[in-house]
Point group: C2
Chain length 284, copies 2
């Protein structure tokens, strides 16, 4: 088990709303509609917004309309990439009970629906685990590789996206060979992750973290993008403050498709979220 570096980083704390909270804010208009401003700072390159970021916006809308405070399961179809700027959120409430509630959230821009999400909300606590998958052994955060601090290493044509300036991502060097021209034979990436402005993780943050690593095919030296088709995120517990460990791996790359399978542990080593997505595979 690694030394957990959660308390090592000194980050600025201010009274300003965090970059994440401002960028995912959902407001109710006087007419009762839910609206958001999709923030250009959360892109993955070329003005395309990160799928996890968009899912956090949809999760906020679901929670606003639910008797329960936390998203515990989200199943999203990515229909098209929405434009930066104003978006509307439509929440169709489904069955709701004492334990959980279901809803269907549609995020749309001026061009129409971009993302539809089935959301299950409930109340997460700090219950002890009857079984919990242990965190993999990784070096401490200060021995890891910061994507944002090594922008000059980016290959020609690869721009460091806004996402990696806002989500501090420190790759386990064992999975960062691709950044030094030494790709791996395994599509696995592993990184410590937290918001760059020090905002602590919560269920909404985990929804973004669950799609915030570079495409797993980067590990194998294929630097193309992998647009998400469907993404499921499960949030399993309230995360402790500090860095999260995020691991993504693919199990099958074939026929133009790739899966990406995430597991996220908090700074106490507890599994707090999982995700799996089907994406279009980048051309090799």
């Amino acid at each position: 088990m690694a030394i957990h570096p959660g308390t090592l980083a000194v980050v600025p704390q201010t009274d300003e709303p965090s970059s994440f909270d401002a960028a995912t804010a959902v407001q109710r208009t006087e007419g009762g509609r839910l609206v958001a401003q999709l923030d250009p700072g959360w892109d993955v390159g070329g003005g395309v917004l990160n799928g996890g970021y968009l899912l956090s916006v949809a999760a906020r809308a679901a929670v606003l309309q639910s008797p329960h405070p936390h998203p515990v399961a989200l199943g999203a179809s990515y229909l098209r990439a929405p434009a930066v700027g104003p978006a509307t959120l439509t929440v169709q409430s489904g069955p709701s009970g004492r334990t959980l509630a279901h809803s269907l959230v549609t995020l749309a821009d001026a061009g129409g629906p971009a993302l539809t999400v089935q959301v299950t909300t409930a109340t997460l606590g700090h219950d002890p685990s009857a079984y919990s998958e242990p965190m993999p052994d990784v070096p401490p955060v200060e021995e890891c590789f910061s994507v944002a601090e090594h922008r000059d290493l980016a290959p020609p044509g690869v721009q460091v996206p806004g996402l990696s300036l806002r989500v501090d991502t420190r790759l386990d060097v064992a999975t960062a060979g691709w950044a030094f021209g030494q790709p791996s034979e395994e599509p696995v990436l592993r990184a410590w992750m937290r918001f760059a402005d020090g905002r602590e993780p919560d269920p909404l943050a985990l929804v973004t973290f669950a799609d915030a690593l570079p495409p797993t095919s980067f590990a194998m030296g294929n630097m193309g993008w992998a647009p998400t088709v469907q993404l499921q995120v499960l949030v399993r517990a309230l995360p402790a403050p500090g860095w999260c460990l995020v691991e993504a791996r693919s199990s099958e790359i074939a026929g133009g498709w790739v899966d990406e399978d995430y597991r996220i542990w908090d700074s106490t080593g507890r599994l707090v979220a999982q995700s799996r997505q089907l994406a279009r595979a980048p051309r090799g």
Copy 2:
């Protein structure tokens, strides 16, 4: 790598439609509505129908309304258990292109919506894999443990469900200790699987297989049921004829919730499907 037993089993082949095809058939009425007859034979006990079976019915409806022949990604919310008997299927078509199409399918009985599913359809082929997770090493099928043939071992009050008479399930004895009063400390089940009437696997079959093992908590000696809340299934390739190997494991059991994570390999050892669900955990 195990000896693949795909060609060892002799099963009856007739011109009758298979039990699975009959039980998942979706018909179009003269009025243009899509209807199905939910079959009591596909229960998991107590008249409750298997979630994978219901998802295969919804997938059939999606394919009927799509230009593409195969479900490749399905994200389902289980709102309530539908009754056996007549059901209606409503398909709202979403964006559709040359590579894939999106839709939202609602399965309802007289009591209202029971299951809503986001379905992505596409065309699966036999493309070679750029990367494929190898199949775990397991004993051949004839050395495995048939749940249906050992009904007398079921603990008092546990009825062998219809599902396990229709889906021939041969547990790797390394994960079947619970059936002999020797539960494991790991929530893992692994089994060879095929339809009992010899119908060969295809993408629709994989959707059922992706939720057809007993709850993973059985492995730890907890014999309660685990109702599915959300389930995602990804179909990754056309499966070869013969037995599939199905492995399910949980990563976190806490606060009344459990995940179940499936991987399915075909008789050639290729990964052909994955699923992950969030379920309510059985009381320990």
